[in-house]
Symmetry: C2
Amino acid sequence: MARNVRHQASSSTAQRAQTRLRDMILAGELAAGTDHLESELAERLEMSRTPVREACVLLQGRGLLEVRPRKGVRILPVSPADMEEIYDVLTELETLAARKAAEAGLPERALAPLTRALDDMETALAADDRAAWADADQRFHHELVRLGGNRRAMDIVEMMSDQVARARQTTLYMRPAPDRSNADHRAVLDAIRAGDAGRAAARHRAHRQYAKAMLIELLKTHRLSNL
Amino acid sequence: MARNVRHQASSSTAQRAQTRLRDMILAGELAAGTDHLESELAERLEMSRTPVREACVLLQGRGLLEVRPRKGVRILPVSPADMEEIYDVLTELETLAARKAAEAGLPERALAPLTRALDDMETALAADDRAAWADADQRFHHELVRLGGNRRAMDIVEMMSDQVARARQTTLYMRPAPDRSNADHRAVLDAIRAGDAGRAAARHRAHRQYAKAMLIELLKTHRLSNL
DNA sequence: GCATTAAATAACGCATACGTAAAATAATGC
DNA sequence: GCATTATTTTACGTATGCGTTATTTAATGC
C-alpha cells in the first residue's frame, strides 16, 4: 500500500501502463466483460509486454481485471451483487473515518477541503451540473476518508471506488437530483465540526445505505446487470 | 481480487515466489525493516528475477513490502500506529460480517466450521497450548468473515491479517490466557445462531477492540516498536 | 456430416540481454 | 582530511527470445 515512484524524473513504463489501463477501464474504453491479450494491450499502449503484465498483475490485485492465461485479460464487470459488496465495505470504512474525524477535534482549517467540496456540490446542484456535482461528491468522500487518518482504509476505499466508478458514471443522469446527498453530507460535516462522533457515523452510514439502495435499484430497473 | 491459477498442473514460478516470500515475511525469515535486492531474492528462491519481480509487485499491493529501486525490496515493519490502523479496518469489516451472518439465518450445518474452530480454541485453552489456540482463533475469524458472505471484505481481512501476523505470533506467549477471547467468540456465535445481528455485531466489535488495545499495549510495554 | 487424430499456430511464463541511471569507488585538488 | 570530480560498478526496467503448452485448424476415418 505504500506508494512507490520508481523513477524520480518521470513515471516508469509500467506505472504509465497501470494508469492508462485503469483510466481506460474506468472510462469503459476497455469495456466490462471484454478480453484482451497482453500483446493487444502492449500494442495499444505502444510498449512491450513486460510492463503491461506488471500493470495487469497490479490491477488484478485491485479488482479491476482478471488475468486469464490464453483467454486474455478480462475486464471485470460489476453486477448488482458486486455493488452490494462494494458498498458494504465502503459504508463501514467511511463510517469509521467519519467517526474518527469527529473524535479528532479538528480545527476549522483542517476541514476546509471538505467544506469546499460540499460548497461545490451545492453550487453544482443549483446549476444542475451533474458532472461537476459528481466531481465534488468524489472529493468530499475522499477528503472525509483522509480526515479519518487511516491510510489503509483510505487505500481500500480508493480501490472500491474504482471498482464502482463506471456504474456511478453510467447512472449519474438517471438518478434523482442529489438533494439528499448534499443534505446528508452537510449533516456529516456539521457533526464532525461539533465533535459528535456518534452522529457523524450514524449520518454517514445512513447516507451510504441510501445511496447503495438507490444505485442498486437503478441498476435493476434499467437492466444494467454488468457494468 | 479474483484468484487466478496460471497453470492447471501446478502453480507458476511467480505464484510460488509469491507464496514463498509471503511465508518468509510472516515467519520473520525476511525480517521487518530489512532490504533485499531482487537478485538476492531470485538466488534464494532459485529462479530468475522475472517471477520475483512479479511477486514483489503483488506483495507490495498487499502491504507486506515496499519495492524501492536500487535500495532493495524493503520488508515493511508494523508499528503500534500501523496496528491501530489495521485493527480498525479489521474491526469494521469483521463486525460487518458478524452482522450479516446473523441476519442470514444460517442453518446449524453452515455454522459447523465456526463451531469447530471455537471448540478447538477451548480445547487448546484447557491444554494451555497457545499454538493450537492461535490456529483455531485464526480459523474462527476466517470462518466468521466467510459466513458474512462478502468476498471483498474477506480478501481485505486476509490482507490485514497477513500484515499483523508477525506481531500476533510474537506476542502470543506474552499475552494473558485468552479466556476472554473464547468467551467473546462464544457470545458472537450464540448471537449469530439466534439471528441477533445487533448483538453479534456489538459483541464482535467489543472483542476486536479489546484485542487491539491489549496487543498495542503489549507492543509498547515490551518496546516492540516495529515488528 | 461428425468424431477423432494429427499438425500447425499462438499465447504464455520465464530467462536473458542490454541500455540507462544510480550508487560506489577512485582520483584529484586544496 | 575533506570536498569535488571522474570513473567504474551495479541495479533496474524493459525488450526480446525461447521452450512449453494450450488452442485452433486441418486431415482422416467412419
